[in-house]
Assembly symmetry: C2
């Protein structure tokens, strides 16, 4: 099997490429290196792995590189959610239009299977928690969430009109090795600059489900193998949630720091567009037999250790 | 009050401009005339009306023309749903990106209020009918529906991040004077070419709620005046539905034809992306006090008479 992984040098993409290679797949990673890093994929064995540095907005190149693949894993996105407010077209371009190009390239090259990394951000601030996949209305509060919703709509239209088959996973927060964004990485960067104080966006009580990156990959591959509808939509997270305060404390401990002063920016949400409370109903994928091994706090704690080891020293 | 109407020379837009002018508004109509027609707005009194022939994809021009408006009515879209399958980026460009540009121009020019013409196409093929506004999942089957869903997500993100206020109306089928697409106009065109036979896409049993264009405008203005949330989402249709067969018979009668042979292309849907059965739960807007005067069959029958008078003779 030959997989084409968009965002293949990014956080989830690089971990996914490594897993697919370990399972004997042939893999092409396509990444513009805007967020991804060459070092994340540099050591993969070259006999079954090819890296293409190119942009999803270049449809001609995308089509040429995708030809011959059996399945596309579309992991590329602007994962810096707060950026969408500062530059309102970044998620339109690198989320929505990039997804359109990925689907159009699939149509043109007859690649029929897609695994797509969507997000719980499509739910906005739901009145029902844990939130199931059939929740409505879908009113995202971030430009990132809007682009994931737009991308899901495009996946659905391509599936219906051109016979594609797709697995859409709405991720909770994903953490682990090669993470490039999010609270854990932010805290490490801030504490490296100033080990005495830590600015925490919001009130620290925001709580979301964290899933370790290897388990996100387990879940995607499990869903892909066990769900056979033309369009399959799953929440992919663990039950429960972890607070920002818990994460801050774990990062401080992993870095061996003491007497760090936590300074809260205040307010329930970290920034406009941040959803402060997320709980996902994961029973649909569980009904197929998939369960995470780590709970949310365990995943966050493991990621704190791993990321401090990866980034916590002088780079 | 000064209104900026995108798609202002189109079907719904031109009717809306006429209404707003009659109610004493100042109106700017912005339209690229790809589907709109200059004749629809040519006779409006020039002291309170200005027409701009320009494209929503030209953000600089859009921003310049929008400046000073109190409210935007965003009616522009590619209303030819079947076209999206033949040219998969037409709804991305003239739906999603056009809506992004409209919202971004509002942000840049400090226009704080938006009325947006969405569509029941966001529901795809719902398992619950009549379908309420909080139905999920939203899995559109047409590129048009995907672009309306993407646009709703963008509206929601701009509302949340930049303090806009928006009224989103998910239309059923809209019919009436200046119609440019849809079964009624198609049947008139076909019967003018050949008054002996009429090709009907699908099996003729497709049934959807039809609303006369003046009542869509009533409903939008009613919702705008009576709903005060930052983001207000309403189905806008009448209860019930009208079959394609009913419409075909009414067009034939209005044109004074007899012994027309109906030739069905067959299948439950007219074309890939066509949703054959639509019923909308209209109780949310009804709870505010809005009710349509015409039922679906009455609206379709009236539109048949009006459109045959407008287009049924040699143009």
């Amino acid at each position: 099997m030959k997989a084409f992984v968009t965002g293949g040098a990014g956080f989830i993409g690089s971990n996914l490429c490594e897993r697919l290679l370990a399972e004997g797949w042939e893999v092409v990673a396509y990444d513009n290196l805007s967020l991804g890093r060459l070092e994340f994929v540099r050591d993969f064995p070259r006999d079954h792995f090819r890296f293409v540095e190119a942009d999803l907005l270049d449809l001609g190149r995308l089509e040429a590189e995708m030809a011959g693949a059996d399945i596309v894993f579309h992991m590329a996105a602007n994962s810096d959610i707060a950026q969408g407010r500062r530059q309102t077209d970044v998620d339109l371009k690198h989320g929505t239009i990039a997804t359109y190009n990925t689907l159009e390239a699939m149509r043109r090259t007859d690649v029929a299977k897609l695994v797509f990394a969507s997000s719980s951000a499509v739910y906005g601030e739901p009145t029902l928690m844990p939130t199931p996949e059939d929740y409505g209305p879908l009113l995202p509060i971030s430009f990132y969430g809007a682009s994931k919703l737009a991308s899901e709509g495009l996946v659905s239209a391509f599936v219906h009109n051109f016979g594609l088959q797709a697995w859409v996973f709405r991720f909770g927060n994903v953490v682990g090795r090669n993470g490039t964004h999010g609270a854990l990485v932010d805290f490490i960067r801030k504490l490296k600059r100033d080990p005495k104080r830590l600015e925490i966006l919001g009130d620290g009580k925001q709580a979301k489900p964290y899933l370790y990156v290897s388990e996100i990959i387990d879940g995607m591959l499990y869903g892909y193998k066990h769900a056979a509808e033309s369009l399959n939509v799953f929440n992919l997270a663990c039950p429960g949630a972890t607070t920002v305060d818990f994460i801050a404390a774990r990062i401080v401990a992993a870095m061996g720091l003491q007497n760090v002063c936590f300074e809260y920016s205040g307010g329930a949400r970290g920034w406009p567009g941040d959803v402060p409370q997320v709980r996902l109903d994961t029973s649909r994928l569980a009904a197929l037999g998939y369960r995470t091994r780590l709970d949310s706090d365990q995943a966050a704690a493991k990621a704190a250790d791993v990321l401090v080891a990866q980034y916590g020293r002088d780079e």
